[in-house]
Structure formats: C-alpha cells, structure tokens
C-alpha cells in the first residue's frame, strides 16, 4: 500500500473517528462525500463508541496475501453502542468461542505488513469484553 493512501486513513482507523452530517445528524463510518439521507456535503467529526456486539461473523481460513500469519481469524459485522455498524476482526478469542450477540471492545493492533520493506499497517480490531 502506498504511503499517501495509508496516511490519509490513519486518523479514522487509529481513533475510530467517523462523521456526522451537519444537515440531518446522520452518522457515518467511514466518512463519505455525500450524506445518504439528505444529500448534504457538510460533516463534523463523530467519535464512535468503542463497545458493541457481534451481529454476524465468519472465520477466514484462506486469507488474502498479507494476512496469512493470522489465519484462521474471525471477521465480524459489529453494531456499536451508538448504533453504528462496522466490519472488524475479532481477536484474542478462539474462533470456536465466538457467538452472535457477544460483547466486544475496540483495540489498536497491527493489521498487516507489505513484505519485508513495506510499511507496517495498523488499525482497530475488536476483542471480547471480559465481564
């Protein structure tokens, strides 16, 4: 991945920062150029909730290049406490123990490396909330 392409998504990925439409209040993650609800192009920052629950999930057993060393790993559709939805890996858990409805919280993790000399990429993943 090129440096500019990585750099421009750093803040949303590192801080779980989305956008709120100043026209109608609809919230988005990631940012979009046009509001899906009212067509506005004006937004302000919206910090996403960092706790949510698993809506549905899968186990990736044959990953794309760059993700091999993590396999098998869980990817889930997560609904956060503020109603926002996103896709994320769920880590620090045996894939057999993941359940729909499970409580999860955001963590900051390494995502992948572009070979030996490329940039190391980071971002959010989620892990089960320990009760």
């Amino acid at each position: 991945m090129s440096v500019p392409r990585y750099w421009r998504e750093e803040v949303p990925r590192y801080r779980l920062l989305g956008k709120e439409c100043t026209g109608c209040g609809a919230k988005f993650f990631p940012a979009r150029p046009v509001c899906t609800e009212c067509g506005s192009t004006e937004f302000k920052d919206h910090k996403l909730a960092e706790v949510g629950e698993v809506v549905t999930w899968t186990v990736i057993r044959n990953p794309p290049p760059g993700f091999e060393k993590y396999k098998p790993y869980v990817v889930a559709l997560i609904e956060l406490e503020d109603g926002m939805r996103l896709l994320s890996q769920v880590v620090d858990v045996d894939p057999d123990e993941v359940q729909t409805g499970m409580s999860v919280e955001a963590v900051f993790r390494r995502v992948k490396e572009d070979g030996k000399t490329g940039i190391i990429q980071y971002g959010y993943k989620f892990r089960p909330v320990v009760e």
Binding site: T56, W57, T58, V59, R61, Y73, V75, L77, M84, L87
Partner: protein, 379 residues
C-alpha cells in the same frame, strides 16, 4: 429504440486451459458465436473481463481481443463490473444495437484464472469490495457471503437446505459439454467438506477456471430469441451500510425494473440462471429476484422447486458451481444458456415449454447486479 435479438452464441468448456493464451480462448468463443449467427460482419465489440489487469497484467483488453479475431478497426471496449462484468457488458451491447448506433455487436466474456496462484484469485475476488474499510479487515469474498449465510441460518433454514443449491447445480451439469464439473455431488459430500469461511463449506463455493462465452446481437426480427429486458442496478458497496443485509438491493431493483420493461411477472419466468458462486448467494438471489418469498428459498430448493423438472428450473446447465465461474465471462455464459433453452437447443438440459428466461449476474456482495430477460419470438 429497436428491439434486439440474440443471433448466435458460442461457449468454451470451462476448464484449466493451460496451453491457451487469453486471446485464443476468447477467439474460440467469439468465432463460434459469429458462425452460429451466420455473420462475421460485427461492427462493435464489448469484452467482459474482470481480472485481466491483475492475472495477466493486461490492459487494453478491447483492442487485444479485436486483434485476436483479426478485426483491426473494430470499435472495442472492455467492461468491468466485478463478477457482474458479463451481464453489464451485455447490457451495454444491447443498448448499442437498440439505439441504432450498431447493427451487429459481439459481446464476449473471457477470464483466465489458471495463470495465477490460489491466493491471487482470493485477492482478485476481494478487489470487488471496498478496499480501505472492508478488505482492510482481511475479509474475503466468501467471508462476506458467509456472514449473510450465518444470519440466514439463524432465521430461516438448516445448513443442508442451503447446501442443496450446490447439489442441484451439480445434478444439472451432468452431460453438459461446456461445464467444468459435470458430475453429481451428494449433500453429505458438501456438508462434510472443510470450511472455506464458516458456515460456508468448500463444496458450496464455485471453483476456479478459465472460460470464454460470446453472443452476437442484431435487431430483432419476428422469430428467434429477443432481449425482452436488460437492466443494471447498484447498491451501497459495504455490508455495514445495508439496512437489511439479507435483501440484495441491487438484485431487487434490477429485477423489478426488468419485469416492468419486459411486461412480465415473476410467475411468468420459465427458467432462471442465478449467481450461485456461493450457495447462500443463489438462495438470496432467488428471493431478491422476487421468485421465492423472503426466507423461503433454501427450503424451496431443498424440496425440489428449483430442480430442472421442478416449478422453477434453476441453473439448468450447472450454474456457477458446476458449469464453472470464470468471473468476467460468467454473465455471458448465463445469458447464452438461457438463449439455448429458448431456442429449444439445450439437448438433455432442455426445459419444456421455455418461453421466457431470466439471467441474474452479480458483482461484489451484490454491489452490482445485471438482470436479463429473454423471450422466445414467433409464438
């Protein structure tokens, strides 16, 4: 706008064509279609190809394919819409003839997947998805469908009922000359195969193959097979943006528009080719096309409703699962197969009294859908 007809079709067996470069594979299908149509006077070429830029490191696919069939000077373009490339290319080609701009158009899909390692195929498939927030999670194309599959199992069906989609596709491929896997597969074999992306088993996924399919389009006459409707629709690309993940919005929109254009109801469809690249995709497609009620398609399939001799013959030559899924060519295979059915030229695969047929070709996790309705004329 003029009415448009399918004048000829050409199909190459989906297989691993190690010895053939992509141009030769393309020419096999293109020359067959022109011979079938009784013309080589095409005045436009639409090439559907998804992954040549990655797998063959080849751009300028329109010019390269016109070159392969020795037609320099021909107007040619490559159409890419992920796995929906074939259906979308057909849509564009039909518009060219309907508008009067072209009188005889060749639309041909080609994909050569055996040139690359399996992980490159995995990469090419996830390139259909949004890269910065979907693919960045490490999800795969089967992984995204698997999340829908799990929701569907939670609400509506048993795993083996969804799995029957693959069993039926294999049943229909037996004896098909252009099918990659023309053999039966038991539900036990599917359910006992390893997981690809839980809960999707490996044998519920379409495989990897090389293929090419071609169609010649001309203005419609009073006989033959007419294009009753061709539509394309899109949806929000990423899963978190979908209000109801189990409704394929692009499929629903494209289908509703197509029924209206063709002046038919879902109940008038005599046979259908759907995007069963994963069993759940086939099931959800039948529902979003309005052919089976939401939540009921897996049971409908398991009870034989979609069998070739059932109420709604589906994937009559084996579908993506068993005929094969050479990505950008798949949509053209589907439409060519429907045309063969309506001509009464489907041999052992023939559906009786086939007058109206539908093909549904989908890219990404339903981010693009092309729906084509063909009708038999002269009846």
């Amino acid at each position: 706008m003029r009415k448009v007809a399918v004048a000829g079709v050409g199909l190459v067996k989906v297989s691993e064509h190690w010895g053939k470069p992509i141009g030769a594979l393309f020419a096999d299908a293109a020359l067959q279609a022109m011979k079938d149509a009784g013309t080589d006077g095409v005045d436009g070429l639409y090439v559907s190809n998804m992954s040549g830029a990655l797998m063959q490191e080849q751009l300028s696919m329109g010019a390269l394919m016109a070159d392969a069939i020795a037609k320099p000077g021909l107007s040619a373009v490559r159409v890419e819409a992920g796995s929906a490339s074939g259906g979308v290319a057909f849509h564009e080609a039909v518009k060219a003839v309907a508008s009067g701009y072209s009188d005889c158009v060749l639309v041909a899909g080609v994909e050569k997947m055996s040139d690359v390692l399996p992980e490159v195929v995995t990469k090419s498939l996830v390139m259909e998805e949004e890269q910065e927030y979907s693919a960045y999670t490490g999800v795969t194309k089967p992984g995204l469908s698997a999340m829908l599959h799990r929701l569907y199992l939670d609400l509506y069906a048993e795993p083996s009922e969804v799995g029957m989609m693959a069993v039926q596709s294999h049943e229909n491929a037996v004896g098909c000359k252009h099918a990659q896997y023309p053999f039966r597969m038991s539900i036990e074999r599917a359910m006992d195969s390893p997981m690809e992306a839980d809960p999707i088993h490996m044998m519920e996924c379409a495989g990897v193959g090389d293929g090419a399919a071609a169609i010649v389009l001309v203005p419609a006459d009073t006989e033959g097979v007419e294009v009753a409707a061709t539509t394309v629709a899109t949806d929000y690309c990423s899963l978190p943006m979908r209000e109801d993940p189990l409704t394929l919005g692009a499929v629903k929109t494209a289908a509703e528009k197509a029924y209206k254009l063709a002046a038919v109801k879902p109940g008038d469809i005599d046979l259908v080719e759907v995007q069963d690249d994963f069993t759940i995709n086939g099931v959800l497609s039948l529902e979003s096309l309005g052919l089976v009620e939401p939540g009921k398609a897996a049971k409908y399939v398991a009870e034989g409703g979609s069998a070739r001799d059932g109420e709604l013959p589906t994937n009559t030559f084996g579908g993506l699962k068993a005929r094969g899924n050479p990505l950008g060519a798949t949509g053209v295979y589907q439409i060519a197969e429907v045309a063969l059915q309506l001509r009464g030229a489907a041999g052992d695969h023939q559906v009786e009294d086939a007058n109206v047929g539908l093909a549904q070709n989908m890219g990404g996790l339903g981010s693009t859908c092309a729906v084509t309705i063909l009708r038999r004329l002269g009846r």
